[in-house]
């Protein structure tokens, strides 16, 4: 995969100037989290909404869905933990991010705001929302996990855990919808997480500072 990225001009010098954005390890890591998330959302929504209980059928039987859900959750948390340590330092807010956030209306129209580095204010906010939700989901999930851990906690604590678990899951699901939509809306983004590369045009428009840093150009 790196051949193309390191020497993209060799293939199509004029049109396909590419920058490596995510390594293979990062992409595998991302998609492990994504697949776990989809499985957890399907089973979680089935337990939350009676009308969606049939979604447990994806796992074979409702009881299997209930048994599998927390184990998938642990896999997601471990994989996300790896992502946390990969990206946290890229997601510290700076002044440009605040500018971006204040002018988010303009951004929504497709006009870029601020000298954005590797991630913009929205992506950084999304990162921290995900971190908070993942932490809340893990903690509350362990407390409510039967038959292994729940019996070690007092019932009032389990009740709060169940409420926290469902609430943070709803926040995370809504956020992931925004995350997925943003990737679809900003064309050329999916490629970053599938092939690992973005075009120079993409980088210059959406992440000018990151573009300068990675290419050494002074545009």
């Amino acid at each position: 995969m790196t051949d193309k990225a390191q020497n993209p001009a060799a293939q199509n010098p004029a049109k396909e100037k590419l920058i490596q954005r995510y390594s293979a390890a990062e992409r595998i890591n991302h998609w492990v989290v994504a697949v776990c998330f989809v499985l957890l959302a399907i089973s979680g929504l089935a337990f939350f909404y009676p009308a969606f209980f049939w979604l447990t059928g994806v796992f074979g039987t409702p009881e299997l869905a209930r048994i599998v859900h927390p184990f998938v959750g642990v896999v997601m948390f471990v994989a996300f933990g790896r992502q946390f340590f990969r990206y946290w330092h890229h997601n510290l807010l700076n002044r440009e991010d605040i500018r971006w956030m204040v002018a988010v209306k303009e951004v929504m129209k497709g006009n870029e705001v601020g000298d954005i580095g590797r991630y913009n204010g929205g992506q950084k906010a999304m990162f921290w929302v995900m971190v908070l939700c993942m932490a809340a989901l893990l903690g509350s999930g362990v407390i409510a996990w039967r038959p292994y851990f729940a019996s070690s906690f007092p019932i009032p604590v389990i009740r709060i855990a169940l409420l926290v678990h469902a609430t943070s899951a709803v926040v995370l699901i809504s956020s992931i919808i925004v995350h997925v939509y943003a990737a679809l809306w900003v064309q050329g983004t999916i490629r970053a997480m599938v092939e690992g590369v973005v075009t120079h045009g993409w980088a210059r428009k959406h992440h000018p500072r990151w573009y300068r840093e990675t290419t050494g150009k002074k545009v």
Partner: protein, 303 residues
């Protein structure tokens, strides 16, 4: 297990109404604590009729044995020694499912039909549909349901719904030697209780009363207590039980909020895309990138 000859009033995780046409009488089990001698015949009858065999326990210094409810012990006697007016009182309470009119377990249960409430008031678990999540344990204000360590499914007293369906009283009622447990229509049981309470009050128990807590819509297991003002004395019978706020929010307000939140995220994306359209870098910036590419080539040429 649910018995098909009993009409169902409410069904877990089922948003639409159950069958409405037939209206059988509400039943109730009345436990007169002041008449109970703590013989545990009810425990034995329960175990026998329902074919349950709890492991032989050990003496823990008091009469409680088994010491707690379990998937193999759907009713247990709880013995409390308390001092009232300078006198020792031995308060014995038969613990088990209260068969709430508004059952917290049923509200919490995510599996359609795993918990049903029969029209006569009995709250019944259908282990065939139970997924072992234990939400019922968290939903119950009385700490009654128990998960079986063998199959992971929830169990509790079903007021011998199989017996009641064919016109018999529950096994514990049938066996009680002192008449401390009575069974009939809820209305009749309230009348029986009123007579007993009047008698207790005339004999110095001013605070005698009926335990039929309104916080859970009333219960179909009711107690006559000599100290109805202090139910906690009876091995922690809750004073004003109700479905906890956390469970209420989780199974109540959070659902419409979640629907709005998730739908808003999806609809926003859809309408944003069809109004603003995709955000393409190539329209304007690609040209610049091409210029860069040309510049690079020129630099390479020079070098």
């Amino acid at each position: 297990m649910t018995s098909s000859s009993l009409d169902i009033q409410r069904r877990s995780a089922s948003p639409t109404a159950a069958a409405e046409a037939r209206n059988p009488a509400e039943i109730a089990q009345l436990i007169d604590v002041s008449v109970c001698i703590g013989c545990k015949a009810c425990q034995v009858a329960c175990s026998e009729w329902n074919e349950l065999r709890a492991d032989v326990g050990t003496c823990v210094g008091v009469y409680d044995n088994p010491t707690d409810l379990s998937s193999q012990a759907w009713t247990v006697m709880r013995f409390a020694e308390v001092e009232e007016n300078g006198k020792l009182e031995w308060l014995i309470r038969k613990d088990g499912c209260m068969h709430c009119a508004e059952p917290g377990c049923l509200k919490a249960c995510p599996s359609p039909g795993a918990i049903v409430q029969h029209k006569n008031g009995i709250v019944d678990y259908n282990q065939d549909h139970c997924i072992g999540c234990g939400y019922c344990v968290s939903g119950c204000p009385f700490n009654v349901p128990r998960l079986s360590p063998k199959d992971g499914k929830a169990y509790k007293c079903n007021m011998c719904s199989d017996r009641v369906a064919v016109g018999l009283e529950p096994a514990c009622v049938k066996t009680c030697p002192t008449g401390a447990i009575q069974f009939g229509s809820k209305e009749d049981m309230k009348e029986v209780a009123a007579i007993r309470i009047a008698d207790l009050q005339s004999r110095g128990f001013q605070n005698a009363g009926l335990y039929d807590p309104p916080g859970v819509g009333g219960t179909h297991t009711m107690y006559v207590l000599h100290h109805a003002d202090k139910p906690e004395q009876y091995s922690g019978l809750p004073n004003d039980p109700s479905i906890s706020t956390a469970v209420g929010l989780w199974k109540g307000a959070l659902k419409p909020l979640a629907t709005v939140g998730i739908a808003a995220a999806g609809l926003f994306g859809f309408f944003h895309y069809i109004t603003v359209g995709p955000n393409r870098a190539d329209d304007d910036a690609h040209q610049d990138a091409n210029d860069d590419a040309k510049a690079d080539t020129r630099e390479e040429d020079r070098s």
